[in-house]
Amino acid sequence: MVEKENILGTFTAQRMSEDMRTPESEEIELVRLARSGNRKAFDRLVEKYHGQVYQLAFRFFNNKEDAQDATQEVFLKVYRALGNFEGRSSFKTWIFRITSNTCSTICQEKTKNKKTLLQALIDWFSKPPVQDPSRVVTEKEYQMELQSAITEKISKLPEAYRMPLILRDIEGYSHERICEILDLKEGTVKSRINRGRRILQESLESFFQRKESL
């Protein structure tokens, strides 16, 4: 008990910043403590990973509310399943796998529930107005619009292609890591990434045509 308190005291005293990486051994110790029911250790893991989980969920949904719901759901699942974590993969890979599965589940549930007429009307009015192609824009404005369009189009991609594309082209993970996170074969991951890129590029055709006219 005293030993645990000392370890926690050390962590609390250090309070490292978000982007500063905790050594792997410290993370293993945190996971071990969290598994034994230590809430402070679990809170440290939440502090470390909630930003990354939220970012992944936001890229997937392009919606703050859904991303928040998914993040909460992910950490709830992690808290409940921490006892089953065997440490065969890293904690980060494990938590990202849970994030991917949770996002897919939420997405499937959303598609099951058909939109009501009122919801469809609200969505239609809340959509940003279509830009006039003849409008003169600067290079910086164009880049911002392109990024905004990419974020939106990624969230509209078929679900199977979405997460592999996000993990590869936005988060920059290797194929091996993506295979581990998504629990898929390398060939499947590669083909999904390539197919997703093609669909995304074709959906951004109008933006590229504007670029040509600049």
Partner: protein, 195 residues
Amino acid sequence: MKCERVQNWLENHGEEPLSQEWQELLIHSKGCFDCSLILKNRAGMFEAMKNLPPPEIPADLRQKISISIDLVKPEEDVDVKPSFVDNMVDFIIKPVQIALSIACLMMIVSIVNLRESPTKVGSPANIARIALKKPQTKPFKKSRFEPEDQLVKVTREDISDFMKKLQEYQRMHPEMNVSAQPVMPGELAVFGQTP
């Protein structure tokens, strides 16, 4: 007709190491407007994705996560270590649980045996076995009223005493005197005698 050579190659081999085929496609795209545009747009798309600004993390997200975990029911909190009292109760209850389990098991076994016994008797093999079995004759206990093996010596006095008592009895109970009553021929036939 739009040329899709590069687009198709990227879809099938986009994540593979660059090969001789890719070099040939690059040479082709220099003279092909469609393919060069696709390559250019692909590069622009990658650049934009690489530089996507990170989303703003809601300030209350951690708090919300914490609240949702606090709301987890205690029985779902499987990872929490049992307290000293829990251990003690467990220590006391465990032997009782084992004893009860064994008792239940024995009861079930005996009930099953009871249910099975009639069917066993009813089986043809058992019926044959029972039929062939010799009846067991138990020796009867001698009654205390039964006469002894040795003959009792009766004297003349005893006989005359007995005859006196008999005559006295017949005199007191004339209805019991069979020889005095008339007997019908049919009645005697019952006893195997003919008049």
